[in-house]
Point group: D2
Chain length 359, copies 4
C-alpha cells in the first residue's frame, strides 16, 4: 500500500510490465498550469528502451494517453490520469523463471510477501513502473518551471570511471549530447567503452548519477521528518537498483572538521544572501537556503546477467539459471530521466507544501 508519493502534489502509479500498461494519477496539480501532452511524451522518450546500442534492445514506443485533468491546454485542478500501453508483449517464454528465484531480484521477496508473484518480466517490481513516474515528473517540471526551478541530472560515474570535476565546472547543456548522458565528453566516451565491454562479457555495471536543482527558492522542506534532503533521499532510494544517497558534502564530508565544513554566509553585490562554499548542498536544517541543491545517487549493477547463476526454486531446491531476453548492461543512461522525475516530484510537492504554511 505505497503506490503513492507526495502530500499535496501526489502521484499514484499502477500497472505491470506485462499487463495492459503503466499509468499514473496526479492529484493536486494546481489549475491553470499550461501543459501539453507533447512535453510528457518528450520526457518518456528520454527514458524509453531501445534508444541506443548502450541500452536494452527491448523496444517500446511508450506513447502516453491523457485520460483526464487537462482541458484546452491547461490543467483543470482535477486529477491528471496518464496511461502508457505496453506494446512489446511478445509471448516470451518465462518458464525458466516461473518457479526459480533470480538472484538479487524481487522474486523471492514478492513470493514471501504476497504468496504469489507475477513472473512475467517482474510484474510490478520491474523498472518499467518508472515510466509512470517520468510521465508525472514532466507535469511537476512544468509547475516548477512556472516558478523558476530547473532540475538536471547526469551520469557522473560508471563502474570506476568518474567525471573528474564537480557539477559547477560542467556545461549541463551537454547532458543529452551523448548516449551515456554525461556532460563531460571525454569521460562519456570512456564510460561508453566500459558499458560496451561489460555488455560483451554478458555482465552488468553500476554507477552514480548526480542531480542538480537550480533556482530553488528558500523555504522548501518541512522539518522535522520531511526535511528536503530526507524526501529527496527517500525518492531516490525508491528507484529500482539504488543503494545509496548523499547530498552536499555527503560521505566525504565526514572527513572534514567543522571549521572546514561550515558554509560562511555573505551578501553578494546584488544584495542576495549567499554562502562561500556549499557543503550544505543548498539545504540547512532540512530547508532550502537558495543555493543550488545537489546530490549523488548510487546504482548497483543490474541483477539480470546473461550468465548461468546458482539459485533455488520455490521448493527450495538448488537450480541453475541463465538470464535471457533483452536487458540493459547499465541502467545509468536511462535512469537519468527517472532521477530528474523524482527530483521534480519532490520539489513540486514541497513548493505546494511551503505555501500552505503561510498565514
Amino acid at each position: 500500500m505505497s503506490n503513492s508519493y507526495g502530500q499535496l502534489f501526489r502521484i499514484s502509479t499502477f500497472g505491470e510490465s506485462h499487463g495492459p500498461g503503466i499509468g499514473v494519477v496526479i492529484d493536486g496539480c494546481p489549475a491553470g498550469l499550461p501543459i501539453e501532452a507533447a512535453a510528457i511524451q518528450a520526457a518518456l522518450d528520454r527514458r524509453r528502451p531501445g534508444q541506443s546500442e548502450l541500452t536494452t534492445p527491448r523496444s517500446e514506443a511508450d506513447t502516453v494517453e491523457v485520460l483526464s485533468g487537462l482541458f484546452e491546454g491547461r490543467s483543470t485542478g482535477t486529477p491528471i490520469g496518464l496511461f502508457i500501453r505496453n506494446q512489446d508483449q511478445r509471448s516470451h517464454d518465462y518458464s525458466h523463471i516461473q518457479h526459480a528465484y533470480r538472484p538479487s531480484h524481487a522474486d523471492y521477496t514478492y513470493d514471501q510477501k504476497y504468496g504469489h508473484r507475477d513472473y512475467r518480466g517482474g510484474g510490478r517490481s520491474s523498472a518499467r513502473e518508472t515510466a509512470a513516474r517520468v510521465a508525472a515528473g514532466a507535469v511537476a517540471a512544468a509547475l516548477l518551471a512556472h516558478h523558476g526551478v530547473r532540475v538536471r541530472s547526469y551520469v557522473s560515474q560508471v563502474g570506476a570511471v568518474a567525471v573528474p570535476v564537480s557539477y559547477e565546472q560542467l556545461d549541463l547543456s551537454l547532458i543529452d549530447t551523448n548516449l551515456v548522458r554525461c556532460p563531460h565528453p571525454e569521460t562519456a566516451a570512456r564510460m561508453a567503452d566500459l558499458i560496451r565491454q561489460t555488455r560483451d562479457r554478458h555482465d552488468t555495471v553500476g554507477g552514480i548519477i548526480t542531480g542538480v536543482a537550480t533556482g530553488v527558492p528558500t523555504g522548501l522542506g518541512e522539518p522535522v521528518f520531511d526535511k528536503l534532503h530526507a524526501e529527496l533521499g527517500k525518492a531516490m532510494l525508491s528507484i529500482n537498483a539504488v543503494k545509496g544517497f548523499e547530498y552536499g558534502s555527503g560521505f566525504a564530508g565526514t572527513l572534514l572538521f567543522g571549521s572546514e565544513h561550515n558554509d560562511a554566509f555573505y551578501t553578494d553585490e546584488a544584495g542576495r544572501v549567499r554562502t562561500r562554499t556549499n557543503h550544505s548542498g543548498g539545504i540547512q536544517g532540512g530547508i532550502s537556503n537558495g543555493q543550488d541543491v545537489y546530490f549523488r545517487v548510487a546504482f548497483k549493477p543490474v541483477a539480470t546477467i546473461l550468465q548461468p547463476q546458482q539459485t533455488i526454486n520455490d521448493q527450495g531446491e538448488a537450480v541453475e539459471l541463465a538470464g535471457r531476453g533483452r536487458h540493459d548492461p547499465c541502467v545509468l543512461p536511462r535512469a537519468v530521466p527517472i532521477v530528474d522525475a523524482m527530483t521534480n516530484l519532490v520539489l513540486a510537492d514541497m513548493l505546494l507544501r511551503a505555501r500552505a504554511s503561510r498565514l
Copy 2:
C-alpha cells in the same frame, strides 16, 4: 507540517530546546504490549547530554513522564503521550546570535520559511527534538522484541578513523562498553583520542554510524515508494547533521559488476532460505528477505564551533560570530541511540503495515 512519522505506528513530536520540554504522541501501538516507563527512561539515558567527557557538558536529567496510553503495565491501544521537561534552561545570553545567522545552522532558513525564529538554542531545529524520537523508539523496540527483531547500531568511523572489519566480525554486545559506542575496542580508543584532540582545538568532527537489524522477518517494506530501504533512508536523513545513507553494498557496490554483486540463494541445513553474500543488505525489491538488514549513515561535523566565524546578520551585514556554550565536539556517540530509535520506528511501522496487506 511534518512533525509526524509512520503510517500505522505513527509518532508526532513537539517541543523546543528552550521551551517547557519535548514530547511525543505515539498513535497506533497495538494494545496489550508490555512496556514499562523504565525501558523508555533507559533509552533516554543513553542519549542524554552530559554522559561523559566526550560529549557536551550541558546536563539534562531527561526524565520521561507518561501522559497517557499505558495502564497496568501494558499499552491500551490508545495514544501514548510522553513528555520530557527541559530542566537546564539557565538564562543564557543569546544576544550574540539573536540577529546573526550561524553558519551551516538552520537560523537563516527558519527565518526565511517562518518569518521568524526561536533564537534560544535553535528552538525546534535543535537536536534536542530527537529526545522525543528516542523515547518513542523504546516503545517501538518493545513491539519489535515481541516479534523477535533486534536493532543495534554503533560508531564505525570518526573523521578518518574507521573500524577495519564489517559488522559480522564484531561482537555487538561491546557497543556500550566504551564512551564512543564502538564495539572494536582499539578503534574506539583511537576515536576517543581524535574527539579529545578536536575538542581541545575548539573544532568538531563527523563520522559514520552503522546500523544492523537482526531477526527481521521476510516481507517488510512496501513497494513501490515506501521500500524498506527508502523509509530507512528518509528516517536517517531526518536526523540532524546526517548527509548520506547507504545500505548493503552502498556506494562501494557501484564498483562491482553484476556477476560479483548478485547474492546467490541457497537453502541451509535447517531448510531456511539464505543468500551466500548479502550485498542486498537484507532487502530485495524494497522488501526484507530474512537476512540481516544493515546500512551506514554519514554525519557531518557539528556546525557549532568555539572559534570566530564570518557570517551575516538578519540585515545582511557582515558580522563575526564566535560559538559559546556547551556543545558536543562529536555527535556520533550520542547519535547511536537516535539511529537505533529511528530504525526501530521504521521497522515497527513496516511490521504493522505488512499485516494489513494480508487477506
Copy 3:
C-alpha cells in the same frame, strides 16, 4: 486534492463526464482475493444510465477495462487499475451553460475555486464520477464477502412516499425486483408513480436511501476521529446530492429519553452477545458491536430541471436558463449501487485497519 478515500484499502478516482473516461486505482487490496472482471461489470450495470424509463435516457455501456492488479483470476497485491471509457459523447451544444451558472450546481463554486471550469456536462463534478466508486466498491464487496460481511441498501423514501416499516421487516432480496429498488412492492409502485408524474412536470424529486450491513464483526471503527459511523457519514455525504446522514436512531433518537434509548445487552441461546434493541445502529463508541449496522441517507432533488430558471452568467448579469438534455427525474434508484459501493469501501478499509491494531 482529495480524490482518494481510505487509509489501507485506498481508492483514487479520476476522469470527467466528457473526457476519455472515468477511472480508479485501488491501492491496498490484499493479494490472493478471487475477483473477476464480471463482478465489477455487474455492479456497474446496476448504476449505468438508461436502465429504465425512470432514469435518464442517456445511454452508456459503461464497460470496465482492467488495467492492472489482477492476474489469473486473483488480486496480486499491486494496485488495481480500472477504466470506463465514455462513449455517449455526442457533440452536445453546451453554449447555453458555458457562461451561465446553473442554480444549485457546482458551476459557480468550481469557477471560484479553480478560476475555470469544464462546462461540458459538469466535468469532474458530474455524478458520472461515481461510476469509478461503484467499480472499486465491487472489489471491496469481494473482500468483505470473504469475511462474511454483506451490504445492501434500498430506496426507503421518494418525496413524501415512504416505506412504512423498518428494514428488519423487509425481504431485502426484493430490492432489485422493481425499477425503484425498493423492497416493499406496494410502496415501490407508488414511488414509481411519483417519479413519472414529476418527470412529466419537468421537475425532479429527492428521497432517502437506507443502508444495511450484516455480518459485520465486532471491532471495526477507529476512535476517536475515524469512528465507524463518522467514516460512513463522510462517505455518504461525499456522494453527489446528499444532504444528510443518520445512523441507528438518528434524528428521531433525540426525542427519546436515555432510559428508552439504551440498548440492553443479553447473551442469546448460542452464547452470542446481543442487544435487545439496536438504537445504536450496531456501533458503540465508534466501534461495531456485532449487531446490524444501518443508516439513512438524504438526497436532495436533482438540480437540473427542464424548466426556465433565473440565474446569472460569469459576468454577474441576470440571465434565464432552461435545462436541456437527458437527466434523471429522481436519482434514488441509481444511487442505490453508489451507497452500496461507498459502504463497502468504508467497511473494507476498516476491516484492514482493525487488523493493523493487533499485537
Copy 4:
C-alpha cells in the same frame, strides 16, 4: 490509529479521563498568528464540567498548559502542544463497572477491539477527550478570525422542545446569556425546565445543535471525497453521542421538488453574487459559495442514567447495573463549544488546503 484530524491544520489528541490528563498537538498552524493562552483557556471554560446546575457537578478547573509552539505571543510554525491535567481524580469506586458492560456505552466494543479496557470513567472513550478538541479549536478560531470567518453554534432543540425560527431570525449574540446556550430566551427557559425535570427523574435527554459559519470565503472544500459538508459531517459524527448530521435543507429537503429547492443566483447592489434562498447551506458541489454555512447535529440522550439497568458482565452473565457518580442529564449545553471547535478545525484545515491548490 485515528487520533488525528486534518490534512494541513492537523490535530492529534491523547489522554484519558482518569490518567494524568488530556492533550493535543497541533501541527500546521502557520507562523506568526497572534494567539494567547487566555483565548484557549476561555474556550475550555465554556466546556468544563460544573458550570451550572444543568450540567454534571463533576468539577475540573481544566487549566491549559502550553507545552510548545507559541513564543512571544505568536505561533512559531512548529507544533503547538497543549495539556490539561486531570484534577478531580478522587478515588472513585469503579468496581461496579469493572466487569460489567454499561448499555450503549463503549465498554463492550473496546473490550472486543483492544482485548482490554480502561474501566475508570471510560478511559479514552470518555467525552473528556473533547477538551483537547476545544483547546485546539480555539487556535483554529484565531486563524479563521484572521481571515474574517466566524463560527457560532447553539442548542436548537432539547427533547421535543425546539426553537421555532431559523438561525437568521435569531440574535446569535444571546447564545451565552443562558445556561442552555439557546439564543431564543423563551425556548431556552422551556429547555432548562425539561432538563431539570429529566435530571430529577434520574433520566437523560438528547437534542439538536445548529451550527452557523459566517464570512466563509468561496472555494473551501475539496472535491470529490473531502467535500466541505462531508468533512463537517465526519467531524460532527466523531463527537460523542452524535447520531446524525444534515446541512442546508437536510432531510427536510427530500420533501421538496427541484423547482422549489434550487437556489437562484443574483447579484446584489454591492455587486456580490448571492442566492435568493440557501437550501444549499452555503455549499455547492462540496465547495463553499460565499453564503452562510449552516447545519444541524443530532445528539442522543446520554447513556449513563441513574437507574437500574439490565446488562451482562464480561463473562456474558446477566447482571443489573445502576449508574453512579456525577453525570450530565443533557450534554447539549456543554456540547456547543465542542461543535464550535470541530467546525473551526474543519474550516481552518480547508482554508489552508484551498491555498495549496493555487498555481
